[in-house]
């Protein structure tokens, strides 16, 4: 019974997120941020995420990118411990910053990830490749400060969004007032395999 309720709450939350997303991407249906697949698991004292985030850009954002405007994407991760009679308890949270920029001289897209450990950069020929690289979670290791309770059920909430605050200052008022720039996947929940 409890599980059904929690699932329905989660479904509601997803619906909300979907509604917000639909509203945000009113102009361009194909452009969307989605968390398609995440497989979190505990490895020793850390949480390892593997999966893919689908990052679709609309024409406006794509144009800005092609004109040299760097885009920053924030991936918010919350680790929750599920509880039987109370709401889930948030154990830890992380925000991963990833950045994509067009390099005009080489005609490539530079994708840099500032994962918790170190910053790495990669140059890719096509935008699709670059976005795929930007949204790929290849064993991203998130260190836990406290060890998790072994028997408890854990879940991970993931959200990916375009960081408007990282845009150049003149673009920000426009970005805030236009739905085109509101790219947000909304929260999605994934069970952690022990």
């Amino acid at each position: 019974m409890d599980f059904i309720m929690r699932d329905s709450a989660r479904i509601n939350r997803r619906r909300w997120a979907a509604a917000v997303l639909a509203l945000a991407c009113f102009g361009d249906a194909s452009a969307d941020f989605k968390v398609t697949d995440v497989q979190p698991k505990f490895v020793e004292q850390s949480l390892v995420l593997t999966g893919n985030l689908e990052l679709g850009l609309n024409a406006k954002v794509e144009e800005a990118l092609s004109k040299g405007i760097p885009l920053e994407v924030n991936i918010d991760v919350h680790l929750l411990r599920e509880r039987r009679f109370l709401w889930d308890r948030k154990i830890a949270s992380w925000t991963l910053h990833r950045r994509i920029q067009y390099h005009a001289l080489s005609g490539q897209y530079l994708v840099s990830t500032a994962e918790p450990e170190s910053e790495t950069g990669e140059s890719l020929l096509t935008l699709q490749e670059a976005l795929k690289q930007l949204g790929s979670l290849n064993g991203v290791t998130l260190t836990l400060e406290e060890p998790v309770t072994p028997d408890a059920v854990h879940s991970v909430d993931v959200r990916v969004s375009l960081d408007i605050e990282a845009l150049p200052t003149p673009l920000r008022p426009l970005a805030y007032t236009s739905f085109t720039w509101h790219l947000n996947s909304g929260w999605s929940t994934w069970k952690v395999t022990p």
Binding site: E63, A64, K67, G68, I69, Y102, H103, A104, L105, S106, G107, Q108, L110, S112, G121, S123, L124, L125, E129, I164, E165, P168, T169, P170, L171, R172, P173, L174, Y176
Partner: protein, 781 residues
């Protein structure tokens, strides 16, 4: 209570909403926020991250400012509609200030926007754009040449490496490594790496300083591998965010043995520093320019937004300042107007706080001085009025308790004032005659005609002081008044009217006359009584001596003559005794007397043996008895007040009073068919002026009109045998008791005598005690 609290709360809210402080603070904060936002818009590192927050804060602040100003305007509109003093002036000032502020700001805003847009557009030039495009193309071409060289070198190296034996295991062999090293040095390559088909490193050679951070050579991506497996060459310029640019060429290394697996060679060549630097410069300049071109629209939008907000803020602050200053300028004028209105309504204590030292301040000070003076003058006048009131009350009291009558007339001879004694003496209520002329008074009160005539005559003659004695007939009583008139002091050449003071001197004259009569009676009694005894003795002696000596036939005549002399002398003696009784000032033997008992005692003397009815006492009609007619019963009716107090009186003399009155009545009823005498008592007056009133009335013919004025004078009688002393004695006794007597004819016929005897308070209370004591005694008996 709640109403008061809510009212106070409302006032506090209004003060906070329409006051100076919130708007001033908000304005200062907004200006600060705008300065920060402006800095942020110019890519300041300090405020860059706060730009959005600042923008939001500013928009909210401006909205709040608008709300506050609207509230102020609404408050002001309400005052204007309520026609609060000063709002019209405030409105005029407000409009003037707002126009003065809005017009320049609008002009500056318009031209600033124009200049801004033109300025931003001027940043971009087609030639610069083309030059940058060309520079980029040039850079790409130069790098392309480098790349072609590297591809050629890579392919040569690949051909040379074909000689190396194929193996599947990873881990470098010495021969492979030395060959790679040799080739790398030969072709001056930064890094050479040989991979298997599935991207496993077979051997690698690199410059020592190449990417010191990574020991493992970088593998080509899957897409590259796919391309290479198809036998194609991959060549690209890699942009590495930290280490700049480098060329990457990946070529397949065919084996001599056809069945042997394909190997892959990756050649990495760092660009020469000069190339790298130039390339990076071109890249960054191009990127910056592209970015600027792209951001032209948003930049204009941002600047216009900021400028609009600043212009709006300036306007709002100007409007607010206009409201504030207009109100501040109008406040003293409004206060002055309100205070003037208050003074016009009679509030002379109004003072206005002096807030400035300019002309308005001087005006306010003068106003305050004026109200102070008016207030002082008003207080003085009030005090004088009070004093006049006190004086008037004093005079009224004196006049009210004066036994003399006082009448005042104004210069037109209208009756102005009169005191109570005047009304009592004249026997009329003079209140109706106030402010009425003499003619009206003489019509309304015809009995006062002599008095009115006297006043008129004196006024006509213009006498300042006059005195006259007049006779009035008041309530069938003749009264003698002594009038003394004085003209009042004139004021502003106007005659001041007259005051007439008069006294009822009837009693005085009567007393004088009574005294004269008493003296006459005393002398007469003395003079007559002295010879009477010798006359009587002589007559008796003549009778005694000569009765037997005279002849028989004359004896009878002598007998009759002497008897007549003796009888007449007796009669004379009795008359003289009456006179002496009247003349004598008797000694009073006062003691508490119950008048009702006294009346009953006296009536008892006249009582018939047979009582006809309860309270009805018949009286023998004795006046005609001497003439042999049958005596008739006179009905007496008693109407006695049972609560009558005792009075201090001489019972013997009061008995005489009743006796005289009853005899008079009996005599008067001699010819009346159904004679009735009514006797009554009652209490009149109040407090210290209480009287026992005793009434004796009959249904006879009444007093003859001619005698009414002289009823109490001695020798005034219409009876055949009367001495005329009865009522004179009654009056004297009543006056000795401090009482009054009044006699008049009843309208329905008959005479009425009313005697009032004063009830002394002490006597009254003492006597009520005595009465109750005797009542107890009776009960005991």
């Amino acid at each position: 209570m709640e109403h008061v609290e809510s009212h106070a709360l409302n006032r506090t809210v209004t003060r906070y909403v329409t006051g100076v402080t919130p708007l001033a603070v908000l304005s200062v904060l907004l200006i600060a926020a705008f300065i920060m936002m402006n800095a942020a818009a110019q890519n300041s590192a300090l405020f860059g991250r706060m730009y959005s927050v600042l923008l939001l804060v500013n928009i909210l602040g401006v909205v709040l400012l608008i709300a506050l100003i609207l509230l102020n305007l609404f408050h002001f509109a309400e005052q204007y509609r309520a026609r609060v003093v000063g709002t019209r002036l405030t409105l005029r000032l407000l409009v003037m200030f707002v126009v003065l502020a809005v017009v320049p700001v609008s002009v500056v805003f318009y031209f600033s926007i124009q200049a801004l847009n033109r300025g931003i557009d001027n940043w971009f030039d087609v030639r610069i754009e083309r030059a940058l495009d060309d520079a980029l193309l040039l850079g790409r071409t130069a790098l392309d040449a480098q790349r072609q060289d590297l591809v050629k070198n890579a392919q040569e190296i690949a051909v040379e490496l074909e000689t190396l034996p194929v193996r599947q295991k990873s881990g470098a062999l010495r021969s492979e490594l030395s060959m790679l090293n040799a080739l790398r040095e030969q072709y001056n390559i930064t890094e050479l790496t040989l991979f298997t088909q599935d991207r496993q490193i077979l051997a690698s050679s690199s410059e020592a300083n190449l990417e010191a951070g990574t020991l493992v050579p970088e593998r080509p991506s899957d897409a590259v591998m796919v391309q290479v497996r198809q036998g194609l060459t991959y060549a690209n310029l890699d942009a590495i965010s930290k280490s700049g640019l480098r060329l990457r060429v990946v070529v397949p290394v065919q084996a001599r043995n056809v069945s042997a697996p394909l190997r892959v060679l990756q050649v990495l060549q760092a660009l020469p520093p000069r190339y790298a630097k130039l390339g990076e410069s071109v890249q960054s300049a191009f990127a910056e320019y592209e970015k600027l071109v792209y951001l032209r629209g948003p930049l204009k939008f941002g600047f216009t937004l900021t400028l609009s907000l600043i212009a709006l803020l300036t306007l709002l602050i100007a409007v607010w300042a206009a409201i504030f200053f207009a109100r501040r300028l109008a406040t003293p004028i409004r206060e002055l107007a309100e205070a003037t209105h208050a003074v016009a309504q009679g509030d002379y204590q109004k003072q206005i706080p002096v807030t400035s030292h300019d002309e308005i301040g001087i005006l306010v000070e003068s106003f305050n001085d004026m109200t102070r003076r008016i207030h002082r003058a008003q207080l003085q006048s009030k005090r004088s009025q009070q004093e006049a009131e006190i004086q008037r009350a004093y005079l009224e009291t004196v006049l009210g308790h004066l036994s003399s009558g006082v009448l005042t007339f104004n210069q037109r001879l209208l009756l102005r004032t009169h005191n109570p004694a005047a009304g009592q003496i004249l026997g009329t209520d003079l209140r109706a005659g106030e402010r009425k002329p003499l003619g009206w008074l003489s019509e309304k009160y015809p009995e006062l005609q002599p008095l009115i005539e006297a006043v008129e005559q004196a006024a006509t003659a213009g006498q300042d002081e006059w005195q006259v004695q007049i006779q009035l007939s008041i309530n069938n009583h003749r009264r003698t008044l002594m009038l003394r008139g004085t003209s009042l002091p004139s004021w502003r050449e106007k005659r001041g009217g007259y005051v007439v003071v008069f006294d009822d001197i009837t009693t005085l004259i009567q007393a004088q006359r009574d005294a004269a009569w008493g003296e006459v009676a005393r002398r007469m009694a003395h003079e007559i009584k002295n010879p009477l005894t010798p006359i009587q003795l002589s007559a008796e002696r003549i009778r005694h001596k000569y009765l037997r000596q005279v002849p028989e036939e004359e004896r009878d005549a002598l007998e009759r003559a002497t008897r007549t002399i003796i009888e007449q002398v007796d009669s004379l003696k009795s008359m003289v005794n009456d006179f002496s009784e009247y003349a004598r000032s008797a000694q009073m033997h006062s003691r508490p007397v119950d008048v009702n008992d006294l009346i009953r005692d006296v009536i008892e003397l006249y009582k018939n043996t047979r009582s006809t009815a309860k309270g009805v006492v018949p009286l023998h009609g004795a006046s005609k008895a001497g003439k042999g007619k049958a005596s008739r019963a006179i009905t007496t009716r008693l109407d006695l007040d049972t609560d009558l107090p005792r009075i201090a009186a001489d019972p013997g003399r009061l008995r005489q009073v009743l006796h005289n009155l009853l005899l008079n009545a009996r005599d008067a009823l001699a010819a009346t068919p159904k004679p009735v005498i009514r006797l009554g008592t009652r209490m009149v007056g109040q407090d210290n002026h209480r009287f026992v009133e005793m009434t004796v009335q009959d249904n006879g013919p009444g007093f003859p009109e001619a005698l009414l004025a002289h009823l109490y004078e001695p020798y005034v009688t219409h009876k055949e045998k009367g001495t005329g002393l009865g009522l004179a004695i009654v009056k004297r006794i009543v006056e000795e008791h401090g009482g009054t007597i009044r006699a008049y004819n009843l309208k329905e016929g008959g005479a009425c005598v009313i005697i009032r005897l004063p009830v002394n308070a002490a006597t009254g209370s003492a006597e009520s005690a005595a009465v109750s004591k005797s009542a107890r005694g009776e009960k005991k008996a």
